[in-house]
Amino acid sequence: MSLLLITLFLLVAATGTGVVLTREPRRQVLALAANGLALTLLFTALQAPDAAFSQLVVGTAAVPLLFLVALASLRLHGPPKEERKE
């Protein structure tokens, strides 16, 4: 098994673990983008340019943007008047 594929498989496993272990959502967005990039590289090495293309535009641009906007919205539109259970 080639060194490149081994490295990329391990990189995907590591960045995926990073996404899960980053509990703070704002940082997790960056971890998600890194995971998307690692997956793109792996797909390219697995001779799947179409899937890599798709993962590149969706995983590193569209999905992080949606996450960031959702985060912004959560901060802007705080909880309604009801008491918060903390």
């Binding site: 179409d50 293309f53 641009a61 569209a62 943007l65 912004a72 802007l76």
Partner: protein
């Protein structure tokens, strides 16, 4: 301990050994026969004159499967838009919302210039990717998202008001719904000619030309319109969440 953690632990006791056992019993990586893939490749290459096998599989061999994906996209985008609008109505809102004490920084000229330069180039690239679906890597799914992100660059560079003027909501609705309808209606062509639904009834054309692949470019166009419209609408409705109602409303 929380119940979902207990449930997960119980499942892990069984599933982890099973997954490990399976991983070591799987066929050798990269060294097992691929009869289905080879058959698909031969069929697409010689009978449909397509050079990108993945598009061939998506829009011909598994066209009905892609119709399902298309409907899923339509349902997901429709659901998201409906939930967002249900909470705040359909019209655009004037003022950028900000957390008290944190002013919104002005857009720098470098960002404006870069976006003005990049937005048309990105749009062009998206169209290229869509049109060459059956020839080189790319297709309606990827190209659609690229086109939508080109529209997003307009928001980044020109600001909210210009963006809303340029991309009226009804246009995006028409793209999204029209794309899905085009795909489904193109499938009816086969039925009209006495063949199966979504059968590739057009002549395959010359291999390597933009119009090769029979029905494939048409179906691909339907997907591209739906994905571009759908994602642009998602971006639009999501970013609407960062706007506040006019002072004095509510």
């Amino acid at each position: 301990m929380r119940p979902r953690l207990l449930l997960a632990l119980a499942a892990a006791l069984v599933l982890v050994p099973a997954a490990l056992l399976l991983a070591f019993r799987m066929p050798e990586f990269g060294a097992h026969p691929l009869p289905y893939g080879d058959a698909a490749t031969a069929l697409m290459l010689h009978e449909r004159h397509v050079t990108n096998m993945v598009s061939g599989v998506n829009f011909d061999l598994r066209a009905i499967d892609t119709l399902g994906e298309e409907i899923m996209l339509l349902a997901a985008v429709g659901g998201a838009v409906m939930l967002l609008r249900g909470a705040r109505g359909e019209g655009g809102q004037r003022r950028a919302a900000a957390i008290p004490g944190r002013p919104i920084p002005r857009r720098s000229e470098a960002v404006v210039l870069l976006c003005r330069l990049l937005a048309p180039v990105t749009l062009l690239f998206g169209l290229y990717v869509v049109l060459h679906a059956q020839l080189t890597p790319g297709g309606g799914f990827q190209g659609g998202v690229i086109i939508a992100s080109a529209m997003l660059l307009v928001w980044l560079g020109e600001g909210y008001a210009a963006w809303r003027r340029m991309l009226p909501g009804p246009l995006l609705h028409a793209l999204e719904g029209g794309g899905a309808a085009l795909y489904a209606l193109a499938g009816l062509a086969g039925l009209a000619l006495g063949d199966a639904f979504l059968a590739n009834v057009l002549p395959p054309g010359e291999s390597g030309s933009l119009l090769s692949g029979g029905l494939i470019p048409l179906l691909n166009l339907g997907v591209a319109l739906a994905v571009a419209g759908g994602f642009a609408m998602l971006f639009l409705e999501f970013l609407e969440e960062t706007r506040a109602p006019e002072e004095g409303e509510e």
